[in-house]
């Protein structure tokens, strides 16, 4: 490659890399593969057209990549590089074929000039009408109609291409679409899974499509009923931004036209609800899950209840919550009139079918209380408060299970290094896998929450619970069923309650038993499914 051209090529490559529309995606790696896959390079044709290449014995694609593209040699009969760079001078210096493959196709650019016969037919039409309107006969542009861009009505662009791939891959239509951001072993994921379990139990596994819309993780796919159809956007196209994913969701809903669409925490789906909920709601019922406020790193309310609910509310058929406290808060905060407040439906999430009962015998003779903390290590779960509690209660042993943000995992490891009363056990596979009978109490320190699943599991197991009374926690942990901490940022309040468990084992047992009875009734699968199918529109045609 001549030095000047290489410099120009590199300069243009840098220029393209900085363009906003570029998305930094131009890949010079794999160029040969992309060209070969495009079907636009024909090696035999190339050698026949360029006998000098054939005479030199150079492999045609190799020659094209190293020299031919910059000499504007045609790669095959269906791409005219001279015409392309003349028609689209903005790509000067780039490999025109690669530009067309990577961008031109989705941008609706044409690979070669219109077929001469098409041009002739267009000129004849122009001749028929050109004298009728000054915007035609006075326009200099119409002297050069062959230079006009020729477009058609095909839906193009990266969203269209992704939709096309998804549409072709679908095996059938669906009655229910459940949107999730990802599928991990988290609380909100479990809400979605419980929903899918109930829908597929009632309507068949073929009725429901789970759409993993925001990220690619599907590690909790095993939670779903066998043979549940799962569609992962990122498996088709990883580069879509949230607006593009929202557009993709709108297209899918229009195509599949399900009876109901239920969004459990997908950002893209919330965007779609806001953007086109009015139109989508004319032919499908839209539902969303909301559980509690969420907060940004700097403490601002940043959950969907604050960012999207108000705009989407008029188009939703229902909002599914897991606690009454947040339902009341939404009504008060947004001044919801009856027509909107009646859409809020509290569905108490069910306890797991399998629990391992807590069997530790409590005794005042035990030297030290042993406490279990099991949750995600993140700001929401208030690892800072846990640290203070550990520091201020050297007479209590704490076992910390879980994983999360690196900064908080490190914090707990450092604390373990300094304190003998804490042990970091690391991640756990499931609550039933935890050795809960080693512990005297379960400690929960969250700053904000709905009714967290881990508390339901602890409640079902029958271990005494000390928990921050935030969000919906107070509906579960009361003075009769556990130790709710109203001043939830005060370490001493937790320590006082843990000490009470130690000094009053009978009381601790009584409250734990009351909790177990409570969740068995109020958070049963039977009750959950009964309430779910009372949600307006969920079962109707």
């Amino acid at each position: 490659m001549k030095r000047g051209k290489l410099t120009e090529y590199a300069r243009n490559l840098a220029r393209w890399a900085s363009r906003a529309s570029f998305d930094g995606k131009f890949k010079i790696d794999g160029a040969a593969k992309r060209i070969a896959q495009s079907g636009l390079f024909d090696g035999n044709w190339y050698l026949e057209k360029y006998p000098d290449v054939a005479a030199a014995g150079i492999p045609p694609l190799d020659h094209y990549l190293r020299h031919g593209a910059f000499e504007h040699r045609a790669p095959g009969p269906n791409f005219d590089p001279v015409w392309y760079v003349t028609r689209y001078p903005d790509i000067l210096g780039m490999n025109p074929l690669l530009h067309y493959i990577d961008y031109g196709v989705t941008e609706g650019r044409t690979a070669k000039p219109p077929i001469p016969s098409f041009v002739e037919r267009t000129k004849k039409v122009l001749d028929q009408i050109s004298d009728l309107d000054p915007e035609i006969y006075s326009s200099a542009a119409f002297k050069h109609i062959t230079a006009f861009q020729v477009v058609d009505g095909e839906w193009r662009g990266i969203v269209a291409a992704t939709f096309g791939k998804i549409y072709e891959s679908l095996t059938r239509s669906f009655e229910y679409m459940v949107f999730v951001p990802w599928l991990t072993h988290g609380g909100a994921d479990l809400v979605a899974v419980n929903l899918v379990r109930s829908l597929t139990k009632r309507f068949g596994v073929k009725s429901t499509l789970v759409v993993v819309a925001d990220e690619e993780s599907t590690v909790a796919r095993d939670w779903l009923p066998a043979n549940t159809e799962v569609l992962v956007f990122r498996a088709f196209e990883a580069s879509l931004n949230v607006e593009q994913r929202a557009e993709l969701i709108e297209a899918l809903i229009q195509a599949i036209r399900p009876r109901c669409v239920i969004n459990i925490n997908s950002h893209s789906c919330w965007q779609a609800f806001v953007r086109r909920g009015a139109a989508l709601g004319t032919f499908t019922r839209l539902y969303a899950g909301l559980f509690c406020r969420d907060y940004s790193a700097d403490g601002r309310p940043a959950g969907y209840a604050d960012t999207h609910f108000r705009e989407a509310a008029p188009f939703l058929s229902g909002v599914i919550l897991d606690n009454s406290t947040f339902a009341e808060e939404l009504c008060a905060r947004f001044g919801l009139p009856d027509q909107l407040s009646k859409k809020l439906r509290v569905l108490k999430q069910p306890i797991p079918n399998v629990t391992v009962p807590w069997t530790r015998p409590l005794s005042t003779r035990a030297k030290k209380l042993s406490v279990l903390w099991a949750s995600r290590l993140c700001r929401q779960k208030n690892v800072d408060l846990l640290t203070k509690i550990v520091n201020q209660a050297p007479f209590i042993n704490f076992d910390v299970w879980g994983r999360g943000d690196e900064i908080f995992e490190r914090q707990i490891r450092v604390l373990q290094g300094k304190r003998s009363n804490i042990k970091f056990q690391g991640p756990y596979e499931s609550f039933v896998a935890l050795p809960i009978s080693k512990y005297d109490a379960f400690l929960y320190t969250s700053l904000w929450d709905g009714i967290p699943n881990v508390l339901l599991e602890a409640a079902a197991a029958g271990i005494p619970i000390v928990a921050s009374r935030v969000g919906g926690v107070g509906e579960l942990v009361t003075d009769q069923t556990g130790w709710p901490i109203t001043e939830y940022e005060e370490p001493n309040e937790y320590i006082r309650s843990l000490t009470a468990i130690h000094s009053s084992p009978t009381e601790a047992r009584q409250r734990a038993d009351a909790m177990s009875r409570f969740v068995t009734t109020e958070h049963s699968w039977v009750k959950y499914e009964k309430e779910l199918f009372k949600v307006e529109g969920l079962c109707e045609g």
Partner: protein, 248 residues
């Protein structure tokens, strides 16, 4: 079969003012071309909430060019087309918007195409020359061409509204209402999808053409800007339901 086939040309008009005259002249020209070749054409202009200038120009044209003028109060292009269809008497309907132009041969070529292929078809010109604020060529795609993709109709409309279709079809499947408050618009796109769902083919008349005026803020652009979608359809759902189950 009679060699004279009747066509009703239906013009949708609103407030085009002086812009409507080139359109009406193109209609006159196309009608004349067709009639000279044995095709009867009647003309109807549906004036939907016109301004005074448009009303005067259209009614004057109607008086001199044997055109029927209907004044309606719909504020809806699709509903206005439906009313034009109801008032029509011919077997075939050809639509024109009152700021666009027909090529001279359009009516005749469409009639010939329909004679050669008598399946349930909506016909479109092959070529659309866009003029005005933007210039380009919009090529209509034939549904029986390899490049046609059914799923593309979810996100885009293959054809303009200026089609040639049987009156019977238009009575059976009228244009849907535009409800911008519910973000439902693009009545022609919705109608295209609804007709395909009913088994109708959309095909092109090779060599025939229209000229489409691009104005500064057309209804199409307003609809797009307002985040509207076309009326819902079971077209894709039905197609998905026909797919064979994957072998385990």
């Amino acid at each position: 079969m009679s060699s004279r086939m009747a066509v009703t040309a239906i013009v949708n008009s609103h407030r085009e003012g002086l812009l409507c005259l080139p359109s009406l002249r193109s209609l006159t020209r196309a009608r004349s071309f067709a009639e000279q070749r044995g095709v009867d054409v009647e003309s109807i202009v549906v004036l939907d909430r016109p301004d005074d200038l448009t009303w005067e120009l259209v009614t004057r044209w109607g008086q001199t060019e044997r055109g029927k003028v209907i004044v309606v109060d719909n504020g809806d292009a699709g509903i206005s087309r439906n009313q034009g269809v109801s008032a029509a008497s011919a077997e075939w309907i050809a639509f024109l918007d009152a700021d666009d132009l027909w090529g001279e041969t359009w009516l005749f070529d469409a009639v010939m195409a329909s004679r050669h292929d008598q399946r349930n078809i909506v016909w479109h010109p092959e070529i659309n020359i866009y003029f005005g604020r933007a210039q380009h060529i919009f090529r209509h795609i034939d549904m029986e061409d390899a490049e046609f993709k059914l799923w593309s109709l979810v996100g885009s409309n293959y054809w303009t509204s200026l089609c040639f279709a049987r009156r019977e079809l238009l009575l059976h499947i009228p244009y849907p209402r535009t409800v911008l408050s519910k973000k439902i618009g693009f009545e022609d796109w919705g109608w295209n999808r609804a007709t395909i769902a009913a088994g109708v083919l959309h095909k092109i008349v090779r060599g025939a053409g229209h000229a489409i005026r691009v104005r500064s803020m057309s209804l199409v652009k307003q609809t797009a800007a307002g985040e509207a979608i076309p009326s819902p359809t079971d077209l894709f759902r039905n197609e998905l339901q026909t797919r064979l189950p994957r072998k385990p």
